[in-house]
Amino acid sequence: MPLVDSNDPALWVGPTALYQQYRADGTGPVGYERSVKDHILGNDHLMLKQALGIQPGQSIVLLGAGFGWVAEGWAALGLGPIAAADNSTFIQGNKTGNAVVPILNEDGSTNASRGRIRQALGLTGGNLATWCISEDVLPIMSDAEARTFASRMRLIGTNVAHWISVGARRFDNPNVWAGDARLNWKTLADWKALVTPDRVVKRGTATVL
């Protein structure tokens, strides 16, 4: 089991959610919803594209895509084809009004799931997507789960990258991570060591290892 249950609505909205944002008019806080899409993304997805050097025409799979806002932003830039997938029941149950691109109910954990993802991109035979990128999926997993997840991603894309919200140590105690204690926190270097040879990309700075 992952460290947190991504099917649990409380992980997405409410006082214990991983996301608490304010709308443009200052009202809130609200959780993971479209009204705060730009606040949650900022320019991070643009920096990710730049950091990985993703080019138009390359096929892209995004796992843990949530409501597909990265896919939406990249499609608007002319990238793709893109397949966005997220098997969270919260995401699948709240797509209306929050997602404008299709969100496949897949996690890539089985051959059948991976086949459906590739099919969504129009890939035939054993062809892989150019990119398979996870969106902040690793921090909700144990190390063992993350390794397994990464290995399955390599069966989907030729190039595998993990986009990760890397935490910081508390200013008053360097032995403690400042972020939500439910998640798996590591330095970017430690993530790299865990999922080598995949690329790991730090959200916010787009540092790539």
Partner: protein, 402 residues
């Protein structure tokens, strides 16, 4: 008595706001009390070379939590003040005050802008910075660290603004920074032309950014100065109308090439200005915080600490910050290293007696002092020859008998 004048009863952990000169010629500044940490205190001197004393009924900060930052903006005899306070991670707040120098009284006290905020950044450090400007229509604009946001379990500090209608009532928590997964830190704000407000802020280990707010409350595109500034500083700005072009200069400590520079960010006020960062002084392995800037009729003065002797130094510019003159040691002091609270902020240059002075309140080795630096004296008025002849012609000659 001679300057500097020792101040008692005011804390040194928060920089004072001012000094300001009233229409009655008295000198004021606002600080927080040295013990208890809760009250704001307005200090007044009729003769600042003699002594300062508290005036008005000092307002106790609502909630009785420690004051963390004070910023002020003078409009005639009224000092508009925003003060932040923090009782911990989730009890951060911002309140608005006004002090009337004509009556020596606090008029508005503890008016809540936002309360009950968690303002922690990624590392959990609570942020309490704020700044204030007052527009010509009496609306008040406050830039501050708003409620933090959570993004995938991390906390990020935010830069937001609030606006007070001329009749009262606040619009709060309007996002200024770009958000995403990065901390935003408040630096300061300056009033430009036509009631445009220029906000200055930065992101973690990144450059000073500005973003303009129009008089109709439309936020413009942010501008990246491409020069890194220190998060530990508050910035002060000056704004001067030069024949229709509003010249703005913001001072800060940062890295403009040498690693530790006193920097003037200069630009012509616009919705999306072009910012030029000019190195005023290179600190050369010694810190230069605090840094402040002042304006005297189109001559800009940057005041900064030098680590080599802990004194305050000054450099001037007569071309709106494009070039700066030689440094002058303006006072022998012991200003603490990287202590941005050691020097008052938001003050300006005013005439006192026959001199125009930069007035400041400084923490000199643990003792708070009021001091001045004379930038010029009042010019002697020479009468043109034709006026002298006219005066002589009009003079009534009284015969003198011997």
């Amino acid at each position: 008595m001679a300057l500097p004048t020792t101040i008692t009863g005011i804390g040194t952990d928060v920089s004072c706001a001012g000094p300001f000169k009233s229409s009655g010629g008295n000198i004021y500044f606002v600080g927080k009390e040295s013990s208890g940490l809760r009250r704001l205190i307005a200090m007044k001197a009729t003769d600042p070379t003699s002594s300062f004393s508290a005036v008005g009924s000092d307002p106790n900060y609502t909630g009785n939590i420690p004051v963390k930052h004070i910023a002020a903006f003078q409009v005639s005899d009224v000092i508009h003040i925003v003060a932040s306070a923090s009782g911990g991670t989730t009890t951060n707040e911002y309140r608005y005050f006004t002090f009337d120098m004509s009556s020596d009284s606090w008029v508005i006290t503890n008016e809540a802008i936002q309360t009950g905020l968690s303002t922690a950044d990624l590392a959990g450090t609570v942020q309490n910075e704020c700044s204030i400007v007052v527009r010509s229509d009496s609306t008040v604009v406050v830039l501050y660290n708003g409620a933090r946001v959570a993004n995938m379990g991390n906390s990020y500090a935010r830069v937001v603004y609030a606006r007070r209608a001329s009749g009262g009532g606040w619009t709060t928590n309007v996002a200024v920074d770009a958000l995403g997964t990065i901390d935003g830190y408040v630096l300061g704000s300056v009033l430009g032309a036509s009631d445009r407000t220029q906000f200055a802020y930065l992101y973690t280990s990144q450059n000073l950014h500005t973003r303009a707010l129009s008089s109709t409350n439309v936020l413009q595109t942010a501008v990246n100065s491409s020069v890194l500034v220190a998060t530990t500083t508050q910035v002060q700005g000056v704004s001067f109308n030069n024949a229709g072009t509003q010249k703005i200069c913001i001072s800060a400590a940062g890295n403009n090439g040498s690693g530790s520079d006193t920097i003037a960010f200069r630009f012509d006020d616009a919705n999306v200005p072009t910012i030029t960062a000019v190195t005023v002084e290179t600190a050369s392995a010694s810190d230069n915080i605090p840094v402040r800037i002042f304006n005297d009729s189109a001559t800009f003065y940057t005041v900064f600490r030098k680590g080599s002797d802990s004194d305050l130094y000054l450099e001037s510019s007569t071309d709106f910050g494009a070039t700066w003159g030689s440094q002058v040691d303006i006072a022998s002091l012991s200003v603490g290293s990287v202590d941005d609270n050691a020097l008052s902020c938001n003050g300006n240059i005013f005439q006192r007696g026959s001199d125009f002075v930069i007035a400041y309140v400084v923490n000199d080795g643990g003792t708070l002092k009021y001091n001045e630096y004379v930038v010029r004296s009042v010019a002697f008025s020479w009468y043109p020859m034709h006026e002298i002849i006219t005066i002589v012609k009009r003079a009534k000659v009284i015969p003198v008998r011997y």
